[in-house]
Symmetry: C2
Subunit: 196 residues, 2 copies
DNA sequence: GTCTATAACATGATAGAC
DNA sequence: GTCTATCATGTTATAGAC
């Protein structure tokens, strides 16, 4: 409270460094010494903030999923209930991609290193992941009342695959903007590549 | 030549074991002892077949990409040049997914563990990957002559993301068949979820 | 072609000083 | 809250017998 500067505590610096390295090298490919080095401390000091490497990874993943959930909820509140289906889809696609690309590596870690993580780690993160995916399922059931639920979940999985894979090739500082990417993905999802 | 039984040589058994473990645990998360154990030999013996762990990984990835390329070429030859655009797309989507799910873990390794692999490994596999992606780019340029090339590459990346992510959730032995999945992805790609 | 044995090093984790 | 020092173990890789 004393200063306006964003005093980044030691714990946060460890989390930041860990998230970035986990994204680039995966869970097993990242060492505590690397994380400590990037956080400006020594490896042993990490254990003052986290009980184990696994616990650190879980903290990163859960932080990331909270960002995703917040982005989804904010978008849902901003959209008028009378908005067109296309606006809802584009808005939530944009929220998801923004969370991946604009909120640091926490959300990206979820996309790139969840699958290869030890089972013990995955099981501790599954609840938040499920809750996020459930929000999308419910959104789709509202937007597409005529479709059957099974097809909707399949379409959602296909959309998620397309969105999350962008973490591996999209460059937010390149020619294509995040807005343009969101619009393209949402339109391809709704109307396909053969639209008008 | 003496027997009909598929005599699986030591080298092939090492490759099979490595591919399966790399898929499940990633490159760094898999040890040579695990690979050797699953192949029925001791860790040191692996070095009779491969110079290093990295060389073994490169061999797995390149084997996988050859399967993908073969699947693409076979499909291209089977399709009549007069076939409808939708048939071409569905056929090649089916070929890609078949390679991922029906030809062992070699192709899946490409999808799940390429991104997190050491840069030195990735650079040795990039040529075959690029050549495969180029086949898709050329296919799209033929199928959609009116669209501009930049948009087509973007749409291909989105489609690839959707297809490759299925490796993380699709169960070929479940209720949904590979044919149904291919048809759904191809139709969503061409016409979107709002089709008829 | 596979084994045993081992070198050389990296890793996650702990204990105690400051 | 961070340090130094260290433990116990796991890791890739090598050398030489069979």
């Amino acid at each position: 409270m004393e200063a306006m500067e964003e005093e980044v505590g030691g714990r946060r610096r460890v989390l930041d460094a860990a998230a970035e390295l986990f994204v680039r090298q995966g869970y097993s490919g990242t060492t505590l010494r690397q994380i400590a080095s990037e956080a400006g401390i020594k490896a042993g000091s990490i254990y003052h903030h986290f009980d184990s490497k696994e616990a650190l990874f879980v903290a990163v993943l859960n932080d990331g999923m909270l960002v995703m959930t917040d982005a989804f909820d904010n978008t849902a509140h901003e959209l008028a209930s009378t908005a067109a289906v296309a606006d809802h889809v584009r808005g939530h696609v944009h929220a998801h991609l923004s969370a991946v690309f604009e909120n640091g590596p926490y959300t990206t870690a979820h996309v790139t290193s969840f699958f290869g993580a030890p089972a013990e780690v995955r099981s501790q993160v599954v609840p938040l992941r499920d809750s996020y995916e459930q929000k999308w399922n419910e959104l789709f059931e509202q937007l597409f009342p005529v479709a059957n639920v099974k097809d909707l979940r399949l379409h959602r999985l296909i959309l998620f695959g397309a969105m999350n894979a962008t973490a591996e090739w999209f460059d937010p500082s390149g020619n294509l903007s995040l807005d343009q990417l969101s619009t393209t993905i949402a339109r391809q999802f709704l109307h396909g590549v053969l639209h008008d």
